[in-house]
Subunit: 212 residues, 2 copies
DNA sequence: ACAACCCCTAAGCGCTTGCTCAGGTTCGGG
DNA sequence: CCCGAACCTGAGCAAGCGCTTAGGGGTTGT
């Protein structure tokens, strides 16, 4: 009924999480999980970072695991959206693959705290939640595999092992979340550019954007 | 004084860990850490897997963290050794790079439980131990960077960004520990072969091992 | 025979963990 | 002016944590 949302919800990083207090807790949890890992983070630490008492957490989330689940789900959906929207453009397979890798990597670098939680705390989820998330991840795999497959079909790419190469491409992108450091010398854009080029080489793209 | 070691110490996976009871505990810890992560693993769980009481652990190791440190140190040394011995062969830069990647990846796949602990539990180490391990990791980086640099110098490779490409190559190899599954369809040898080929493409190797 | 030694266990200590609950504050609507 | 809903806190519980301690068996050297 209330038509005015407290915060927009689509462009802001965690805008879909309401009310504001819940969002503060969730952001605090992302930071803490990324820094120390899920199991090494206490609910007191999360509440403390959000400027609340430990009990406040349980008004907005049933358990600590639900917090992780919401982070993981939203994070995966965002990453998949980023990948998908580049894959759906039109253009050669090489252009679409480069675009997808560039955006996906940039997302992992820019949002590397979120990405770290999303990519490396899967095992901390409960059975049910984990299988839900794994399904989302399979869709990322399918997106990349499709582009590579089309490139091969059109004679643009030279790839002996499509599933294997797909795996390697995604693995390369995901691992950015592990090593990327905001204080480091590379910007997310630079890393995205570098990785897009490397991936085009991996698939043996004939004419990388025209000629060469 | 006792000249006969209980176990040889060089070829067996954890042969250098003595006495046998300590090795059993350490192997149990590797399994547990790889499965659940360091912080989610209890000392009771480790001792239980080794068939001992919780107190037995503290006869052989001062703390739970010391266990992780010994695992991490030995693991890094082994991985570095694998990388180094391929890099020191003679041959073209492409041959050496391919050999190094093949062996390094094979190690991460075969020993993926150990590798997972080694690569993803660095933050759980204490300040002092972590800086010691980080030094070892920098040496791996130097090894790969040297080969790529030599390949560029000799005109074998076409690499615009040597440090960046080095980072990507190592990142690709390391991430094998995360996704590799012994029940999966690929053998460690196959993954090593695939990755060696992909890396040669990344560096724009002119003549990949002569012809083909 | 027996003391010295190593390796192990049963019991448990002090502390932190995830989580609960009774109660208090704030605020819009009747 | 008061009500009920939404939100938060202080205090604390049961369980589980890393680790310690006292002591018991087996093997060894003398």
């Amino acid at each position: 009924m209330n038509a005015a949302e407290e915060t927009t919800g689509e462009d802001t990083p965690w805008g879909e999480v309401n009310p504001e207090a819940a969002r503060r807790l969730l952001v605090a949890a992302v930071d803490a999980f990324a820094e120390r890992g899920y199991h090494a983070t206490t609910t007191r630490d999360i509440a403390g970072r959000a400027g609340m008492s430990p009990a406040a957490l349980y008004i907005h989330f049933k358990t600590k695991e639900e917090l992780l689940h919401r982070i993981s789900k939203i994070g995966h959906e965002r990453a998949l959206y980023v990948l998908d929207s580049e894959a759906d453009r039109d253009g050669t397979a090489a252009e679409r693959l480069a675009g997808a890798v560039r955006s996906f990597v940039r997302w992992h670098a820019e949002r590397h705290t979120t990405a770290r939680v999303v990519q490396y705390e899967l095992d901390a989820l409960g059975e049910e939640h984990r299988t839900e998330i794994v399904a989302l991840r399979r869709r990322s795999d399918a997106v990349v595999r499709r582009i590579i497959g089309e490139g091969v079909r059109d004679g643009e790419f030279d790839v002996p092992d499509v599933p294997g190469t797909t795996l390697a491409v995604l693995s390369l992108c995901i691992d950015v979340a592990r090593w990327f450091n905001a204080q480091g010398s590379r910007t997310p854009d630079e890393v995205g550019e570098l990785y897009a080029d490397l991936v085009l080489r991996m698939v043996g793209a004939r004419a990388a954007s025209g000629q060469k």
